[in-house]
């Protein structure tokens, strides 16, 4: 059985790939959003730090 044969879902292609595809998309996007949010929180504190040191 070749690689492509194993991935041929026949008449179920839409349903199988529709399920795995959306799941994969969700589980790739969420970590990227999480990284973005953490970076933003860190940048905000760095900015507060800079503002404070400028005041002094």
């Amino acid at each position: 059985m070749s690689f492509l044969d194993a991935l041929d879902m026949g008449k179920y292609a839409l349903y199988v790939w529709g399920s795995f595809g959306v799941t994969a998309l969700c589980m790739i996007i969420e970590p990227l959003l999480l990284r973005g949010r953490l970076d933003k929180a860190r940048r905000r504190i760095a900015r507060l730090n800079r503002m404070e040191s400028n005041e002094q």
């Binding site: 194993a6 026949g10 199988v16 399920s19 795995f20 589980m27 970590p31 999480l34 905000r44 507060l48």
Partner: protein, 249 residues
């Protein structure tokens, strides 16, 4: 014993938990990616074709683990809320909030993949069956919780209101789990039973368990990164947070 008790309380402070979460997250990402990669390989190349459902049954390899996680994460969130309300620990509420979007995501995946399985197998995308309706209610509980916490400006009040909502909503979890027993549902009964009489091929079962463990590691990793963001957002004015970021910059 005394030492252990002190250690646990030490990590209940956001300032000490933040670096721990930072160390745990990469470990769980690696575990998650490895297990899911093995699980996906087994889903398509190792698990045999089902004699009745053909290749269409492979949807269960994401559907079942996602459904389990959607219920499990909710229970963990309710547990954190109970601890938070009892001991008044801020971190407990933060943990519950860190898990919510991931739980909602899995509830959505559960409904989506269930629908994509239902269409070819039952001939319909959706039915108002007890199992499916109670899972939809679970998704709404997650969304309602997130909206409630976001809507209240006073952090302490938001924490408490959210925790109470979570604890009240816990009643939905046994309803989802036992719905296929209590009512005559279109959704099939449990394939994997607590008493060990599992009616499933071993390779299929193993694939499903590996995917479930992968999703479990993914949830922990996601929660660890999100709780770090929540801690920094809420403690932005504190000296420890400013010192920590100052050291890195």
């Amino acid at each position: 014993m005394q030492n252990r008790l002190i250690n646990w309380f030490k990590f209940s402070s956001p300032a000490t938990f933040y670096p721990l979460a930072g160390r745990l997250a990469p470990i769980f990402w690696v575990v998650a990616v490895t297990l899911i990669a093995i699980g996906l390989y087994m889903s398509f190349f190792v698990a045999p074709v089902d004699y009745k459902q053909g290749d269409g049954y492979r949807i269960i390899f994401v559907h079942v683990p996602a459904s389990w996680m959607s219920m499990f994460i909710y229970l963990i969130m309710a547990g954190w809320s109970a601890i938070g309300l009892t001991f008044n620990t801020r971190l407990s509420f933060m943990m519950a909030q860190a898990l919510a979007p991931t739980g909602a995501l899995f509830a959505f995946i559960s409904l989506w993949t269930g629908s994509f399985w239902g269409k070819p197998m039952w001939g319909t995308w959706w039915v108002w069956d007890a199992r499916i309706t109670s899972e939809l209610i679970l998704l709404f509980l997650y969304l309602g919780y997130m909206a409630l916490v976001a809507a209240i400006d006073d952090r302490r009040r938001a924490d408490r209101a959210g925790a109470i909502l979570l604890l009240v909503g816990v009643v939905n979890i046994p309803i989802i789990y036992f719905s296929v027993k209590w009512w005559n549902t279109l959704h099939q009964g449990a394939t994997i039973r607590m008493n060990g009489q599992t009616s499933m091929d071993e390779t299929m079962l193993l694939t499903m368990l590996i995917m479930a463990l992968g999703f479990w590691a993914y949830s922990i990793a996601a929660a660890m990164v999100r709780v770090q963001s929540i801690i920094l957002e809420r403690e932005a004015g504190s000296t420890w947070a400013q010192d920590l970021i100052g050291e890195r910059a």
